[in-house]
Homo-oligomer: 146 residues x 2
């Protein structure tokens, strides 16, 4: 288990904010819950006022096919370049489904995705990532006191 | 100018999460951008999966009456007790308008609001708050490096 601290995060946010400048996004969508703090920090550091979130739930019913439900989708009709952010791209399924759905619903919008951590064998490679996940990560936002 | 650090925040989150237990909420709505990190931390600490956000913009056109537009309102049809969170309740106008609108749209839902900082002369008193704002606060999420 690797503990990911606030100090490490604040350095990684700087790196990611700098990397994202090349994309020139006008909107950030945070995938709840994991992407919320990262989305907030990026929006503040990049002076982006359009900070939205969306929700997803992974249904894994053994009787039916598994599927991912995406809801509370923000209105992107005025956005041009959107970055979808999460804390970690693990299997990649959630990010894959969300990106696919948003591209279908908003065909005029250019989407990129970003995560602090990625895994080399995930379904999709993130457009922007800071470091490889080499084990189970405990993020500082889920840290229980003591 | 008062700098509000991550260390102080992580203590305040514990206090607020404990206080909120009495309300027994099933959903957290973070007001973007300021409420996003707080909403995320509270959801993690209280094991609440329903973490949503919404957006608002304060129009202050001198030719027209000023008004607050609220958008990207999440679906609360399955929620019973909702806490609306922001970093600070300053004038209180934003929280007032958002609460009013959500109560109208979801009359079956019980709403409370929470903020880390409050001001004694704001339009509404927060149901849950940790400390009084005694000056301009710079939050750690908006801190520029160096």
């Amino acid at each position: 288990m690797i503990f990911y601290s606030y100090d490490e995060f604040s350095k990684d946010v700087e790196v990611m904010a700098r990397d994202l400048q090349s994309f020139g996004c006008d909107t950030i969508i945070a995938i709840a819950r994991g992407g919320m703090t990262l989305g907030h920090f990026l929006a503040e550091h990049m002076s982006i006022r359009n900070l939205y979130s969306l929700n997803s739930v992974h249904y894994d019913n053994q009787k039916k096919l598994e599927y991912i439900k995406v809801y509370n989708i923000p209105d992107l009709s005025k956005s041009k370049k959107v970055v979808i952010v999460d804390d970690i791209i693990d299997s990649g399924e959630t990010m894959y489904e969300i990106t696919l759905l948003l591209k279908k619903r908003f065909p005029e919008v250019e989407f990129k995705n970003a995560a602090i951590f990625y895994k080399p064998n995930s379904l999709i490679k993130p457009d922007f990532a800071v470091k490889e996940a080499k084990g189970w990560i405990e993020f500082f936002w889920s840290k229980a006191e003591n």
